[in-house]
């Protein structure tokens, strides 16, 4: 290092090199780069001891000295309370942060001395070496700090240094950005493979399904390690999208492939349901408890414990499923089968149905179905009919998401917006019903597992009543929402969006 800085002597100065200080720094983010998206940098630095956690949110910095070594990944409730946690909580949401890159930082302060041995310029030498995920070469930055009244010396030293090397390998954007680049990491979610209008229909469908399969595969470890609840959620959504697309357009794929693997996704989807339902319950638990009018939030504690232990059981069962041969064969075989379709030579398929044509045909079919069902809903329709409509709407939504690249963007956005509003009302109806039923079930289980406090059962009763109210409200809103968002205007807009 000294040799590299020797030119700073500019033929008249001496260098006094301060002690070498070494520390490791770990930069953290969620798998889906939530902190990065919000311009927040979370890092953990340690020289000795548990180190400090620092959040830098667009220039505003806060640090917490840790009292014990942190464990990664960590969800927000696992971070130490305080300003750092407050600074990342909203951005992290329910997701866990884990190390993105790790580096060793060697720093030294070098004083440039004149003939009185007075410091006339200070140099901060920082050497950053990425250690994880892979080792990088050392990246150096020398920052020159002028001393008041010694501008001439600063100019002289800067000139001498600039003449003989690159002392700004670490960008202004900071060590993190430099490290990401050196490690070859792009801080963004990998985009799903998009279909294009002129793709053969089977290739387009296989492309979308292959993307979903990738999402399933990539989230398995996060579910197994129980890092946060979103891994399961993302996996589950990918399963549902797979099932919907198979149902609506699976016929363009080789029948053998669909026959072999299609039913596996129902099995997989069902296996994820209990854990996800309990996750949702637990995520909303504090809000539900806080919303009690007659009861105290604490009244629900025994119920919360029951949910947590049920969730643990469900998660273990799910883990067994995800570790099973059946699961591995399903995903691997499915991905291989889809890859075969994708690798087929397009040119041989001249004259066959294009993605664009398929999209138009299937969306029209689906829309007709949804609108027919929506029209049939009256204030007296049985709940069954409402649930069926909800499922069809969901399928339409997934289909629209797949065909988005071949649609008119503005029209697509408008249609999705309408559909979302309908789905919200339908969702509230469904949730209200399911929740009030399951509360009954849980109350019985609590009862048989011991002697729950009366206050707990009363509070659960209050919750149940509020779910029923929610369902009624949704039922009331529904007819209006259907007329408004699934009426003739929507039909027209859907025609606009199709090629």
């Amino acid at each position: 290092m000294l040799a590299a800085l020797a030119p700073a002597k500019a033929d008249r100065y001496e260098l006094a090199v301060g002690p070498r200080r070494t520390r490791t720094v770990t930069y953290l983010d969620t798998v889906d780069w939530r902190l990065h998206a919000k311009g927040i940098v979370l890092s953990h630095e340690r020289a000795s001891g548990p180190g400090t956690l620092t959040v830098d949110g667009r220039g505003e910095e806060n640090s917490t000295r840790l009292t014990e070594s942190p464990q990664w990944p960590a969800r927000v409730e696992q971070l130490p309370e305080g300003e750092v946690r407050d600074g990342v909580a909203a951005a992290m949401w329910v997701r866990a942060v884990a190390p993105v890159v790790r580096a060793r930082v060697v720093s030294r302060e070098v004083a440039v001395l004149d003939d009185e041995r007075k410091t006339v310029v200070r140099l901060d030498w920082v050497e950053l070496t990425g250690t994880e995920p892979s080792a990088t070469r050392p990246l150096v930055r020398v920052t020159l700090r002028p001393v008041l009244g010694y501008g001439g010396a600063a100019k002289r030293v800067r000139k001498a240094l600039e003449a003989c090397g690159d002392f700004a390998e670490i960008e202004d954007g900071g060590a993190y950005a430099t490290l990401l680049e050196a490690e070859g990491i792009a801080p963004e979610e990998s985009a799903p493979p998009a279909i294009s209008a002129d793709m053969p229909a089977d290739v387009a469908v296989a492309t979308a399904l292959h993307g979903f399969a990738g999402v399933i595969a990539v989230n398995v470890d996060g579910v197994l390690d129980d890092i946060d609840t979103e891994f399961l959620h993302d996996l589950r959504v990918a399963v549902r999208r797979t099932r919907s697309l198979l149902k609506l357009a699976g016929d363009v794929l080789p029948p053998e492939l669909v026959r072999r693997y299609g039913s596996g996704f129902k099995w997989l989807g069902d296996a994820t349901t209990p854990t996800r339902d309990l996750d949702v319950y637990l995520l909303e638990f504090d809000t539900l408890a806080a919303g009690l009018v007659a009861g105290e939030p604490g009244d629900l504690a025994p119920f919360g414990e029951l949910l947590a232990s049920e969730r643990e059981k469900a998660r273990r069962a799910l883990a067994r499923t995800l570790r099973s041969q059946r699961f591995t064969r399903l995903i691997e075989g499915w991905q291989a089968g889809l890859a075969d379709v994708l690798e087929r030579d397009w040119s041989e398929q001249d004259g066959r149905l294009t993605a664009e044509a398929l999209a138009a045909e299937r969306v029209r079919g689906m829309v007709a179905k949804v609108i027919k069902r929506a029209k049939a809903i009256t204030p007296d329709s049985p709940a069954e009919d409402v649930h069926r409509l909800r499922k069809r709407c969901k399928e339409l939504r997934y289909l629209l998401e797949v065909v988005k690249p071949v649609c008119d963007a503005t029209a697509h956005r408008a249609v999705i917006k309408d559909l979302k509003k309908v789905q919200d009302v339908l969702g509230a109806f469904q949730d209200g019903e399911v929740q009030s039923h399951s509360l009954r079930d849980y109350a019985e289980r609590l009862q048989s597992s011991g002697r729950p406090p009366a206050a707990t059962l009363l509070a659960m009763g209050e919750l149940s009543a509020s779910f029923v109210t929610m369902q009624r409200q949704a039922r009331h809103d529904l007819t209006g929402a259907l007329r408004k968002f699934l009426g003739p205007a929507t039909h027209e807009r859907i025609e606009d969006l199709l090629p």
């Binding site: 004083a111 004149d114 009185e116 041995r117 007075k118 410091t119 001393v147 008041l148 009244g149 010694y150």
Partner: protein
């Protein structure tokens, strides 16, 4: 910005040593601090390893031809800057008198120059030459607090009284005058006696005492403030006590 002068009409009593060490301690405690070496001998300038050279000299500085900021030098210590002295400062009396003819009051010219620094610093220490001159009169007018090192001798009390009387004649703002014992030797009966009695007899004389110690004398060899090379020990503790006095008087 509060202004603290280290002053005694007598030479070699520990003015510079006190100014340098207190400025260092103030900066170390987070106060943005400047030390102005007003002595053409440049002892404080030397202790901070700064070359005794002021562009344009006393004339340009006092006359206002060059801004005070342009003469500032960063010391080797965070938060502590120095206005160095050079040999032209021996003519500062003349320069101050001349600034009088240009309309300002000769006894207050230094205050005007210090005002230029008021935005950048919390504390200014003035190290003064041993004399009764226009420079010292300026210093006494500019200061919120005058620290007076007293070597315990029979005549010391008289010298202190003379200074207190002189300051008492000021119209308007008068600085606090605070005497402390310097270069004391507990083995000397007279030292012990004066330290025991004088603070009781004289308002403004504290019992804070800086002992005569070789480690303090070493500052000239080390060319650094005492606490920088001897952060613990009785010598630094004595200056820390003196700093506590300053904090109390100035309500810092």
């Amino acid at each position: 910005m509060k202004v603290v002068a280290s002053y005694n009409v007598k030479g070699g009593v520990g003015k510079t040593t006190a100014a340098v060490n207190l400025a260092y301690l103030a900066a170390a405690r987070g106060h943005r601090t400047v030390l102005w070496d007003l002595d053409p001998q440049g002892a404080a300038t030397f202790l901070f390893r700064v070359k005794p050279r002021v562009k344009g000299g006393s004339t340009k500085l006092v006359g206002g031809a060059r801004p005070v900021e342009a003469a500032l030098k960063g010391t080797d210590f965070e938060g502590l800057d120095l206005l160095p002295a050079d040999f032209t400062y021996r003519n500062m009396d003349l320069d101050l008198a001349r600034s009088h003819s240009s309309g300002k009051r000769a006894g207050r010219a230094l205050s005007g120059l210090l005002d230029e620094l008021a935005g950048d610093y919390d504390l200014a220490f003035l190290d003064t030459p041993p004399s009764l001159s226009l420079v010292s009169e300026n210093v006494l007018h500019a200061a919120d607090l005058v620290l007076v090192p007293i070597i315990p001798t029979v005549l010391a009390a008289r010298t202190f009284d003379q200074l207190a009387d002189f300051v008492g004649t000021f119209e308007g703002d008068r600085p606090d005058v605070h005497g402390f014992f310097s270069m004391t030797d507990r083995r000397k009966a007279l030292h012990r006696e004066l330290i025991a009695t004088l603070p009781g007899e004289r308002e403004g004389v504290s019992s804070t005492s800086i002992p005569a110690l070789a480690v303090i004398e070493q500052m000239a060899v080390r060319r650094a403030p005492l606490p920088a090379y001897a952060p613990s020990g009785p010598a630094t503790r004595a200056y820390e006590q003196l700093w506590t006095d300053v904090e109390q008087i100035l309500d810092l």
